[in-house]
Amino acid sequence: MTGRLQTARGFFAGRLRPTLIGLVALVSLWLWWPIAPAAARQPLQTAQAVQPYLDRVAEAITEFTLDNGMKFIVMERHQAPVVSFMIHANVGAVDETDGKTGVAHYLEHLAFKGTSRIGTKDFGAEQQAMAKLDAVFDEFLTAQAAGDQAQAGELQAELKALQQEAASFIEQNQYGQIIQQAGGVGLNATTSADETRYFYSLPANRLELWMSLESDRFLDPVFREFYEEKDVILEERRMRVDNSPIGTMIEKFLEEAFVSHPYRRPVIGYQDDLFVATRDDIQAFYDMYYGPGNLTAVVVGDVDPAEVQRMAEVYFGRYQSRAVPPQPVIDEPAQAAPREFTLTLPSEPWYLEGYHRPSLTHPDHVIYGMIDSMLVGGRTSRLYKTLVDEAQVALDIGSLNGFPGDRYDNIFLIYGLTAPGHTPEEIGDLFAQELRRLQQEPVSSQELDRIKTQARAGLLQRLASNSGMASLLAEYQAKTGDWRNLFSELKAIEAVSGADIQRVAQTLFQPTHRTVGKLLPAPSGP
């Protein structure tokens, strides 16, 4: 439910071929796949046929900003009496400080716990119980730090008893229950390196219910069941990282690829940090990053934009403006030599290879998406054709462009799963061959056209989903400052030439900027 790190696919990411028994999906599930904007025009014919539809969609989108700085985007779509909502908080794991990893995601879980009126039977009594709990937990941390195991054990028992007392005042999961009872579907949230998103859909006549519940949620949040939820998150970490060979691999890969960049830390947080996290840590993070100026709301569906605005002013207008939150410090030194590591785990082999690329504000941003599409998009893509279809050294291949996020400089990752009897080195050799070819040989106009057509069709296919559009519009607004970039990037792609692609490939795929990770089977694997 809450807190699942989900896949959000950009235009290019829509797979044109099925993945082999979900093996490749494992990687994208682990992270939240950031948008790979880029979309294209291509043969003029399709461009002309598609453009009027895109224009019509753009005309159905309006926006307004509340006095407190909160931005709203509304897309009318009257096909069915339903509406999808998205709150996009421009804060993610990248904004955490060392020693407090996992706080953004922890907050996301706790944002489902209700308010001072929702989720409680007696808020006054509950508050007292929470205060007692937090005091004992502080003592527990002190005892642990002092190595006083006996004292720590006693305090832990006391914590359990106090948790039960606090629980007696709680109406569990009432917040989500109200939404489900009202016919809400798709209720969930995701945290990534770059952002935190809260979303669901309702029958269209319940627009005001979302206004009421969602504005209350961030006006008056109560982070109840804090310690129980910590256990839940630790279980989530065990499942996605510790007991998943590829999860462990990805965590390690980021630690190797970056020296000081906050992207090197796992979104879910380190276990030690999670153990010592306090309710105050969450509160402080919330105070800093959940001001209205840092939130973007998107409403897509069978609604009247004027009514959305009228209600938003009433409900979300209650938020007080807050100071602009600080930006994380990115001081990653340029990589000067290739890096490589190997992990031995109970799994068949994987090969991962990543290169540093700039953030999405870089003028070449769309070109990275196009390169991604050329390398792994569909059965005609270069890596699929060479490694999977012809040489058959890989069972399947994949990529993550903008890994683990793209608000800041990040990684362009390609990876492969070895076919039986083949080694990660063979995958690495053929990757090198294909990347060299991309750098040295001109791109054919046919291939360029194909990439552009696929980008355009990819966007078109996403327009038919309310929730998909809510997600895309929010992301473009929050990350690029203007949702219109969703459409204007298509035009940017039209202008890209084969020479541009070669130029970016030459900059991107430099051995000195490379990190290689190999996952090898444990000798006595299961």
Partner: protein, 479 residues
């Protein structure tokens, strides 16, 4: 019925004073105007002389056309010593190209147009689908017809698929989740049941090119096919194309013996797969289930709501209150034409394994021993009925549902019958359904984890019987 309700809806809307939200209101103070009526889009159904059933549904929102064909076949009809034949046939139909266009050229032709064609055969159904921009509809539809009627099954692509299947077998124990769901099904249905069995190196090796041809011919036939097309097309034009590209299609050779395999539960008790490297236990528990056409289907669906979801008993108790798991669930999961599963489970840290299982079992048993509260019933019914509109978000959803009902011989208004039955469900009906369908004595409890760290041990769950180890070693080629 719908038209009447529509008129009423309009009147109510007209009477509604303009909603005034000048002050923020607490959620419980809100009132909502009635939802505008569900619109069932116009569709057309007809048959070709060769028996092919066609559904057409125009939708001009975007310049896109997509279609899918369902074939009456499935892995459940493949020989037991050739497990994998059905899915190999399904994948090779597309990958191996057509008699006109080899696989690589087919890939080029489609991807140059940002179009796609995919095929597959799963346990109980075969399918082929396409999608295209409006302007490419005829070209892509022509290729689609070739893939369905004239696949080449090129040997090099079939070999590629064989190697990929072998690679999947080699990797099937890499994920504890994968182990758990696979082995659970084998315990419930039996390792040799078509609903649980898995391809092995030996069964793949036993499949010949002739087997693939034969399975294709027996499976993919006009009189066993339902074709549905939705999107931006003109129906008169589309009918001409369908007649031109599918009108001459004739069956050849013998069809499948369509008798469904019999199903009964194979094992019961406590089972463990030892994975000493794990710090969590992956748990599934349950038993054989039922079909969607059972008379108590709606009551069981409401029971699912009470147990699961936000505010469901399991989420509240096992996750939020006890913090025992990130994921916990227990569903009655029926199938259209064979018994599905009753299946519960989740993941928990090794030492909490037995408490987790006991808590989850406790909730399952409570369903059988005491009635749900009126508030729980109302919550669950409202959740189903208020979200009912999401079954009608897009024309393609409607089309897929109609085709599915025809494929499995269900009434075309089944979804509305379900809605009515949910509305009429009572506390007593849920209790009766839970007592009739949930069978604690029949449970399979499977744990994939590190037995040394599971304290108390799993034997405390089965005081009178042994905890059965399950061997998941992969039989090697030639073994």
């Amino acid at each position: 019925m719908l038209a009447l309700a529509g008129l009423l809806g309009v009147l109510l809307l007209a009477w509604q004073a303009p909603a005034s939200a000048l002050t923020p209101r607490f959620y419980s103070e809100l009132e909502f105007s009635p939802l505008r009526d569900i619109q069932i889009p116009d569709y057309e159904r007809y048959e070709l002389p060769n028996g092919l059933v066609v559904y057409l549904l125009e939708d001009h929102e975007l310049p896109l056309v997509s279609g899918s064909a369902s074939f009456r076949t499935g892995g459940r009809f493949e020989p037991a010593d050739k497990v994998g034949l059905a899915s190999l046939t399904g994948d090779a139909m597309r990958l191996g190209g057509t008699t006109d266009l080899d696989g690589d050229a087919l890939n080029e032709a489609l991807e140059q147009r940002a179009a796609s064609i995919e095929t597959g055969i799963d346990t109980s159904e075969g399918s082929a689908s396409f999608s295209a921009l409006t302007e490419d509809t005829e070209a892509v539809f022509g290729l689609f017809a070739d893939v369905v009627q004239r696949p080449a099954f090129a040997a090099d692509k079939v070999d590629l698929l064989r190697r990929q299947y072998s690679g999947s077998i080699a990797r099937r124990n890499d994920s504890p989740d994968g182990i758990t769901s696979r082995e659970f099904r084998k315990l419930v249905y039996g390792a040799d049941s078509p609903y649980a069995r898995t391809a092995e190196y030996a069964t793949l090796g036993a499949i010949s090119e002739a087997d693939i041809q034969q399975f294709y011919q027996a499976s993919i036939r006009p009189e066993q096919t339902i074709l549905g097309i939705v999107g931006d097309f003109d129906s008169a034009q589309m009918k001409q194309w369908i007649a031109a590209y599918f009108g001459d299609w004739q069956q050849s050779g013998a069809g499948l013996d369509e008798e469904l395999p019999s199903v009964e539960q194979a094992r019961a008790g406590v089972f463990v797969v030892s994975q000493p490297q794990l710090t969590q236990s992956y748990v599934q528990m349950g038993h054989i289930g039922g079909r969607l056409d059972y008379p108590d289907h709606a009551a069981l669906a409401v029971m699912n709501e009470v147990l699961n979801g936000f505010g469901g008993r399991l989420f509240n108790e096992v996750r939020s209150r006890q913090g025992l798991a990130y994921s916990v669930y227990a569903f009655w999961a029926p199938r259209y034409d064979y018994p599905g599963l009753f299946i519960g489970g989740g993941q928990t840290r090794s030492e909490a394994t037995v408490p987790f299982i006991r808590s989850t079992l406790g909730e399952i048993n409570r369903m059988r021993t005491s009635p749900v509260t009126d508030a729980e019933l109302a919550q669950a019914q409202d959740a189903v009925l208020n979200s009912f509109v999401f079954n009608f978000q897009s024309p393609s959803q409607t089309l897929a549902r109609l085709m599915r009902y025809e494929y499995y011989d269900y009434p075309q208004d089944f979804v509305f019958q379900f809605q009515d039955q949910v509305r009429e469900t009572t506390v007593q009906a849920i209790l009766a359904a839970a007592q009739a369908r949930l069978a604690p004595e029949q449970l399979v409890i499977l744990v994939v984890g590190n037995p040394d760290d599971i304290q108390p041990g799993l034997d405390s769950l089965a005081p009178n019987t042994a905890v059965n180890p399950v061997d998941i070693a992969i039989p090697q080629p030639g073994a």
